[in-house]
């Protein structure tokens, strides 16, 4: 997904670091077909999700040269357009597709701008801006992560019933985490947790987003020297 961006910015002091919140067997075919030139890491226990308070994919965090977060976890170029899908034909209306494309391009432009210009980019936030957008875990979320981790350990020990019970508790404690739910839900033949249970959960969101919208300032000044 990010390979074009990596290629365009290969001479910059920048790298994509992809983290699959996934098991290696399921991630492998995707990584192999992407032939990415950036590192693709496997996080089967969702450690990075816990550390950065991620709740879905794709979400991204921008980290500068000094190891400082300049954009906290946020939706990386997706929106809720899929919710307008006709569930019989799986067709998404053209205007919804166009808006999704526009939004994805705007996000890619922002990442590219930061990759090129670093701190000069208006998309790299100052500390106040990062803190204003930062969402931190509460006690229930912390509990959910230990339940999820125990479930993963149990699943690897082939204790499936016990694992399922831990995953259910994790999801109860942290209902906002689609990563926890989809990782552990039943998958279809294409490996997707997108059956009736998925749609039931999506519908239960009501007006709340599946992908939290991101504010990308479209009115940013052009790069120095013009473009």
């Amino acid at each position: 997904m990010w390979q074009s961006l990596q290629l365009e910015t290969k001479d910059q002091n920048f790298t994509v670091l992809a983290v699959a919140l996934d098991v290696p067997e399921a991630a492998r075919p995707w990584i192999e077909s992407a032939s990415a030139s950036y590192p693709c890491l496997i996080d089967r226990d969702h450690v990075v999700a816990e550390l950065y308070n991620l709740v879905n994919v794709p979400q991204a965090v921008w980290i500068d040269e000094t190891g400082t977060i300049v954009r906290p976890a946020e939706t990386a170029g997706s929106n809720d357009g899929f919710r307008a899908m006709d569930r019989q034909t799986l067709v998404v209306p053209d205007d919804v597709l166009a808006e999704r494309k526009r939004l994805k391009a705007a996000y890619f432009d922002a990442v590219r701008d930061w990759a090129m210009r670093g701190a000069e980019s208006p998309h790299a936030l100052d500390a106040e801006g990062v803190r204003a957008r930062l969402r931190v875990p509460d006690a229930a979320v912390a509990q959910a992560h230990v339940r999820f981790r125990l479930g993963r350990l149990l699943a690897r020990a082939s204790r499936d019933a016990e694992a399922t019970a831990q995953f259910a508790e994790a999801t109860r404690l942290h209902p906002e985490s689609w990563a926890m739910w989809r990782q552990t839900a039943a998958k279809n033949e294409r490996g997707l947790a997108s059956g009736p249970e998925f749609w039931k959960r999506v519908d239960a969101l009501g007006n709340r987003p599946y992908y939290a919208p991101v504010e990308i300032d479209a009115a940013s000044p052009p790069p120095k020297g013009g473009r």
């Binding site: 550390l51 931190v136 997707l192």
Partner: protein, 138 residues
């Protein structure tokens, strides 16, 4: 019985740990191996922080060279879960420590393998801008 403790990126099997109901007794060196926290005279220490061991009136938290890390974890308000039949324990990070770490804006370090099993640490990429992007097949 063998005990396996998961804490952050660690997964440690301990032969000399003793699980007893809600208690998890670890030898001094094993406390650090399993959790990264060092058991010193002033308490449990990691980085610049030392958390004193509480003097509890009822059940003591220490017994000779052993510490009940589960009791310590609960005393600190950090999450602990376990499965007795399999000897699996997870010692989690407390929400407020996690929130403080994120609020400092220092990107938390981690170590993860790629498909070939090669380990990558976030700090290996210090000096470059890193676009940390999550994805999944599901």
């Amino acid at each position: 019985m063998k005990v396996t403790i998961a804490h952050e990126s660690r997964e440690t099997e301990l032969a000399h740990a003793k699980a007893d109901g809600e208690a998890l007794w670890l030898e001094r060196d094993d406390v650090e191996r399993a959790t990264g926290w060092q058991w010193k005279p002033e308490g449990l220490c990691r980085d610049d922080i030392c958390m004193p061991l509480p003097r509890t009136a009822g059940r003591p938290m220490t017994e000779g060279n052993r510490l009940d890390v589960a009791a310590f974890w609960r005393h600190a308000g950090w999450p602990v879960v376990h499965d007795d039949a399999s000897g699996l324990w997870v010692l989690g990070e407390g929400a407020s420590r996690r929130a403080d770490a994120l609020g400092s804006l220092a990107a938390p370090d981690f170590e993860l393998p790629d498909l070939e099993g090669r380990l990558h640490r976030l700090r290996d990429y210090r000096g470059r801008r890193v676009f940390l992007a999550s994805w999944a097949s599901w």
